[in-house]
Symmetry: C2
Subunit: 232 residues, 2 copies
């Protein structure tokens, strides 16, 4: 009944009260010249949904996002970036004293070694673009981890559980959320998603296809429960 | 007064009556793997504004657009594509019997030589991406030109008039619309633009900063006048 709904909402509103949550979202864009760029497919919708739920549940939310076309949720600290380097710097500036850090952004692993100030003229034949590695933000967060609960995302098209487990361990994460981006009804651009969560404490849960908001709620329930378990 | 506005609108509605107009818009996206891609900065807004004006003025409009986040105008023939190759094929399928063809899309000049079916794993050190040329759609349209009025766009950051004139001649265009994409208040993502038009018949007109809809109206006035002049 309605009383139960109101009570449930009030309880939800306090689930992350007094907590600080940092979320990254969207792609990054690596410039070749003023017109051309390299990027990753990512609408930012999953990260934005996570930020909305964290805010609704009472957290102090910082959302660092690459170039996306969706409007930032109100009531949060929104930091807009373009490149992987800018994303790295923003995360390093905000990472301290966070209770939960979720890296949902699809940060470019490589950027062109050379950026041209003016538009490159095309010419006959092939073009070779030399790319260099960007900073591995998640790896660095894992290495410097203190009390915060650290969550990574993995977008894979095959062997997703194998790669998920590997990343969980290698990057010193508390949890990894894996989505199969080869599905068309979920993932990129979609308002829905379907994920598998693996945690360091040994949880494995498949969250069936649902709105990114519903998925976010279930994810935070898991993270909060595991974080509380840690202390006791 | 209101009567004059109504008469003007009725006159506008007939300016392209019975004409066929083909417009390309937006970027193309060239796949590296299921997550990574290479693209151009282009919101598609200029091409969409042109399509809306042509439709409002009575034309039968075909709009071929790469991946954009704006909604297609209603009442037109909308063809959605992703890659330069798909854009090329769609244009070639629709180019016959057009009265005006406007190539406002920012088609990638290069695409990765190799496309990976599954997400590439990153590794230590640099990555070399070999790129090959895509088909030059505008050049081919110029070579096969018949009765249609052919318009290209040029996005430059320097020497824009020099490059515009060169492209006008080399691609056998009737007109070229040049914007300086180094400006932040106009161009990419913006709802406003500021352009210079050069035509084969020798017109040079700077259209001052205005909405992309207003710019589109002035452009069609020029194209219609020149096309009518051709016949007489």
């Amino acid at each position: 009944n309605i009383i139960e709904v109101i009570i449930q909402n009030q309880q939800d509103e306090n689930k992350l009260k007094g907590k600080k949550v940092l979320i990254t979202a969207g792609p990054t864009r690596e410039t070749v010249d003023p017109v051309r760029f390299f990027s990753n497919r990512s609408s930012g919708k999953m990260g934005f949904a996570l930020a909305e739920v964290a805010h609704r549940w009472g957290a102090e939310v910082t959302l660092i996002a690459g170039p996306v076309v969706i409007d930032p949720p109100s009531g949060i600290n929104y930091v807009s970036v373009t490149t992987a380097q800018e994303m790295y710097e923003a995360v390093m500036n905000h990472k301290n004293d966070q209770d939960i850090i979720i890296k949902a952004a699809a940060v470019a692993d490589y950027r062109p070694k050379q950026t041209h100030e003016h538009k490159m003229k095309k010419h006959e034949g092939n073009l070779v673009v030399e790319m260099e590695r960007t900073n591995d933000i998640l790896k660095e967060l894992g290495e410097q981890k203190q009390q915060e609960y650290l969550v990574g995302f993995a977008a894979e098209t095959k062997d997703i559980e194998y790669y998920g487990n590997k990343k969980l361990e290698k990057k010193n994460l508390d949890a990894i959320v894996m989505n199969d981006v080869s599905s068309t009804s979920t993932g990129f651009q979609s308002d829905e998603n379907e994920v598998i969560v693996l945690t360091k404490r040994g949880l494995k849960e498949a969250i069936p296809q649902s709105s990114k908001a519903k998925i976010s709620e279930r994810l935070f329930e898991i993270f909060i429960e595991e974080k509380q378990g840690e202390k006791s």
